[in-house]
Amino acid sequence: MRELTFLFQEPGMIEAIASDPAGEDEAARPTGYADSVVPDLLVDRDAESLRPYAWICYNFERTYPLVIWGLKLFAHTERGAADEQFNIPQASLTDVPLHTAFSWAYHHFILQDGALLPEGERSVKVAPHDYTRVVLSHALATVG
């Protein structure tokens, strides 16, 4: 199973990079970042297999509901990404789909690091399958 690494830069630049733990795929050629079926999400692929290996969103602090919901609904329509699950060592998560991975990233980098969680929720541990529900609930709760 491939591993995902997230990089984040204020205010909302997020990248997820998939790698083979054996490091056997790094010499392959990229396509460069290209539009995907999910709004605001660009995807870079292996030029031969067209399998995605990197995803970037420039404005995740604003577009996270679109990105996470889009990944949940449409990820299976992306070439070479059908139903793939990932391990995320930096989050101690195993065997999770992309929408859960991006939900964890929003929860960790923006809600937790930005101190945006209500005081009572800061120390609450979220179960892996609950990250999407928690983050999208936050989106609904902040609709003005």
Binding site: Q9, E10, G32, Y33, A34, D35, D40, L42, Y53
Partner: protein, 152 residues
């Protein structure tokens, strides 16, 4: 590159906190506006390119960032953040790869100041959002290029 940029600059993060950033250098972009290249921005770019093993060869091209910003082929507003994100694109010949690549320099505006946020490979001939019903707004187009060369 500009002369004598300030050593540090203060930017405001998402939560209103002030963050000091060391300015490595400044670039006057194609319209003469100053773009700040900070140590934090460059660190992100290096970490990101290193992590993306397939784009790692771009690490040797970081000194071409000023050329991309000051003499781009096309600059668009990001259609998902058309008030604070500009994307400068330029087709570069990468000697080590023996081929041309379209590269993107992502610039964010914070309180009237422009900062470099990312530098990466872009799919050939297609800018971000090219396929949208309402295409991204063009901020600058090199007179020697056509917008159809970028999928628009």
């Amino acid at each position: 590159m500009g002369q004598d940029p300030p050593v540090f600059i203060t930017i405001i993060d998402n939560t209103g906190r002030e963050k000091r950033q060391r300015v490595e250098y400044t670039v006057a972009d194609i319209h003469g506006e100053t773009v700040y290249v900070t140590s934090g921005g460059l660190r992100y770019i290096r970490d990101s390119l290193w992590a993306k093993g397939r784009q790692r060869f771009l690490l040797d091209e970081l000194d071409r960032i000023p050329d991309v910003i000051s003499r781009p082929d096309i600059v668009i507003w990001d259609s998902r953040a058309s008030d604070d994100t500009l994307i400068y694109y330029k087709r570069l010949h990468i000697q080590s790869e023996r081929q041309h690549w379209l590269v993107a320099a992502v610039v964010k505006l914070r309180r009237g100041l422009k900062f470099l946020y990312n530098f990466h490979l872009q799919e050939s001939d297609k800018v971000k959002g090219y396929h949208l019903d309402i295409p991204p707004e063009i901020w600058y187009l090199n007179p020697q290029r056509r917008k159809r060369n970028f999928g628009l």
